[in-house]
Amino acid sequence: MSASDLQSAPSAQEAAPPRPAWQVLLIRPETMTLALLVLAVFAGAWLSPFFLDISYILRSFTLYAEFAIVALVLTMVIIAGEIDLSPAANMALSACVFAWLQQAGLPVPAAVAVGLAAGLAMGAFNGLMVIGLQLPSIIVTIGTLTLYRGLAQIIAGDKSIRVPEWFIGVDKIMVLGVPLPVVIFIVLALALGFLLSRTIVGRQIYQIGTNEVAARHAGIRSARIKFGLFLAVGLVSATAGMMTASRLGSVRYDLGLGGELQMVLMAMLGGTYIFGGRGTILGTFLAAWLLVLVSTGMIVANVLPAVQLVVLGILLVVSIIATNFIYSRTQR
């Protein structure tokens, strides 16, 4: 096949020969994730006969669905060359705002709307600091992660706030046998996957992450797009906060504590490059399933919780080394 490729090129003397197809496939960021996912399925099935029970896996996934949903949007932020570590705190604060307002007598739909607006405002604040003031997003969002969590604690105190009975149980709603949070995750993944790979905005997100100066020179409004991404993370985090509140039936300030690391883990495990420009929604999608399979697989197999953490850590390190190694080897 390489011979025909060479012939079709006008003159290849100045250009490097095209990369072999196997290389193109291997350096796709999500290849490693897929391999690990297949491996996890086999390992799980070998460890426990209950493991391949689809409905069990789906139910397990609802525990991770909120983080996974935010991780999809976070993937786009990372591809654009920024990071947001505040989503988990945002989930807690918007859920606390919502729970507190409905307890104070506001109708639930209105309380939800205010909660979502709060999430949007938190995203806007991050965006203003990063884009308006040109501060590094990692510093800004470490700051706001603490700030939002602190505000949540002020609002909710140390108690948990109950939500109305009818609001509880989003994870028990089934759509064609699939829990609603999982459906939302899949639909959002499809939508964002389309956005990222088929639309101009998606294209420009990659271009900004690859070379922001060149992007600006090409007339791409990078500030606008990045701000939009921070807003999106804010809104989706608040939505995830509401879903968590519904699943747990009550809200505390420590809702989703440490979730930002799970989200970043999913994106990294999915082959997203931490310095921007590379990554796919498919990768994060697969990584979320991988994470659920490995975690539940280990629970089923009675692996000690401490060992579970070690396995997750090794998984991340291996996948990062593998993708970076293959990537740097094929860069000329």
Partner: protein, 505 residues
């Protein structure tokens, strides 16, 4: 001054240097005498800085030998150079801004045990002695950060004295200095010479070279052209020696119909970069913008395109006044800008050639925001064919292409926007001769099709061969507007070199 019979401090023989296969310095023989101030002159890229850096151990020569005081030496690194008594003083001194002047002065001195106490009193005393030797007033306990550039240079010179350097290289030291600071620097340089040290002085300012230096060596295209006592050369001689290369024959000028004004700039000013720039470019006209690196040409282009907007002044495109503060607006107004630094501001290295070509025309490949792959491919393929871009596949990362083909792809990107005004900033830099000729043809064709072209170039033959008019900038100001018929290398150069305009004419 060099006397017959005195043995040179440093002799370079057959010094050559190649970067990535391109020879930038060719067989340079040069003797530097003890107790002289020796100027290195030449156009940008002529090789003078490369030569200085080889002596200072920053670059290693590809070929050639260096003799210091009669013995052959291998200046393998700046540290070795320092030990041999050779110091390079940078234009913007490299130092540790948060450490004190005294600490910067003793840097690299390796006395005392690793975990021993720092002898602060002794360090400060030594530093004060060195600074006093220069006769300047600098508090050695202050951090470097707060010092003026002139004072930072003094600290560098003091450091050279601390290691008892015999050869001090000053690479364009006066560019950031005020006239008074320049006087102080010259006074010190003369004193160092009188102590028997040798100074290499690199500058674009002829009157400074004349005021300070004993001998001058002129570089051109990587060759040493002449070494003479400064008194034997007139300014006009020097300029002629600097530029005197034959016009390359492959260049030609296409004939295009020059129409109405497409771009009109009035009193454009950005303090610190350029001042009161006014000019116009007509349809079908190629206007060159010449000058030395750092004259503010790129800053004007960036201002016009909205990357770093000007503070004041007005711009009209096609007769309509416009305010451009963002490249997206510039593109909407029909401007296009091929930037000087392709890697930084042009290409998306890891993305496909196709994506790189279509980056500025989202509306054409995605009428409703959704990309039509077929349309994009057709556009890119057409551009590849028209500009003869050599590649293996449209989907290969642009970083895998040669520099010339990358540049063609960037040009293709801008042609897709169908610009009425095209700004090209050093479009042929780092490109093979053969591809350069193709570029010249293309630029001519673009003008012939009625576009207005502003061509920034440091290559005089390029300006002369392609342009209908040549504007020259020097130190942020427009110093000449030369019609094609009257344009010569000498005229451009004398307008470009600061403060020798009257003398060279």
């Amino acid at each position: 001054m060099s006397e017959a019979g005195a043995s040179p401090l440093l002799s370079a023989r057959g010094t050559s240097k190649s970067f990535a296969g391109v020879e930038v310095l060719r067989n340079v023989d040069l003797d530097l005498m003890p107790g002289e101030i020796h100027a290195l002159l030449g156009e940008n890229g002529a090789g003078k800085s490369t030569f200085a850096k080889i002596i200072a151990g920053v670059h290693r020569p590809t070929r050639g030998t260096l003799q210091l005081g009669g013995t052959t030496v291998d200046v393998a690194s700046p540290v070795v150079a320092q030990k041999l008594g050779i110091t390079l003083i940078h234009q913007e001194p490299i130092s540790f801004p948060d450490l004190s002047v005294a600490e910067n002065l003793v840097l690299g001195r390796s006395d005392g045990a690793p975990l021993g106490r720092v002898p602060w009193a002794a360090i400060n005393r030594d530093a004060r002695r060195l600074i006093d030797l220069l006769g300047v007033r600098i508090d050695v306990t202050r951090p470097m950060r707060g010092l003026s550039i002139a004072d930072q240079q003094m600290v560098e010179i003091a450091r050279a004295l601390a290691s008892d350097s015999r050869l001090i290289i000053m690479d364009e030291p006066t560019a950031p200095l005020t006239p008074k600071e320049v006087e102080t620097l010259f006074g010190i340089a003369r004193r160092l010479r009188d102590e028997g040290r040798t100074i290499i002085f690199i500058s674009h300012r002829l009157e400074e070279v004349r005021a300070l230096c004993d001998r001058v060596t002129i570089f051109r295209d990587g060759n040493k052209i002449a070494t003479e006592a400064i008194g034997k050369l007139s300014d006009a001689d020097i300029i002629r020696l600097m530029i005197g290369r034959p016009l390359k024959e492959y260049m030609h000028k296409g004939k295009s119909q020059i129409g109405e004004v497409a771009l009109e700039v009035e009193h454009l000013t950005l303090p610190g970069y350029f001042d009161d720039i006014s000019f116009s470019v007509r349809k079908g006209e190629i206007v060159g913008l010449g000058g030395l690196v750092g004259a503010g040409r790129t800053d004007v282009a960036r201002a016009l395109f909205g990357v770093a907007p000007a503070a004041s002044g007005s711009v009209r495109v096609g007769g309509r006044p416009v305010t451009i503060t963002d490249p997206a607006q510039a593109i909407a107004e029909g401007l296009a800008f091929v930037p000087e630094d392709r890697a930084v501001a042009g290409i998306f290295r890891t993305l496909s050639v196709e994506q790189n070509i279509s980056a500025a025309v989202p509306g054409q490949i995605a009428p409703r925001g959704v990309i039509r792959r077929g349309v994009e491919k057709a556009l890119a393929q057409d551009a590849v064919k028209r500009l003869r871009i050599r590649l293996a596949s449209l989907r290969q990362p642009i970083g895998e292409l040669s520099g010339g083909n990358q540049q063609k792809a960037i040009l293709a990107r801008w042609l897709l926007t169908d610009p009425s005004v095209l700004i090209l900033d050093e479009p042929t830099r780092g490109i093979d001769i053969g591809v350069k000729a193709e570029f010249y043809d293309m630029i001519g064709e673009l003008a012939a099709s009625g576009r207005a072209i502003l061509l920034i170039s440091s290559e005089l033959p390029e300006l002369l061969a392609l342009c209908d008019r040549v504007l020259v900038m020097s130190e942020g100001r427009l110093t000449a507007d030369i019609a094609r018929a009257e344009a010569t290398q000498e005229k451009i150069m004398s307008a470009a070199v600061p403060q020798v305009r009257g003398a060279a004419a």
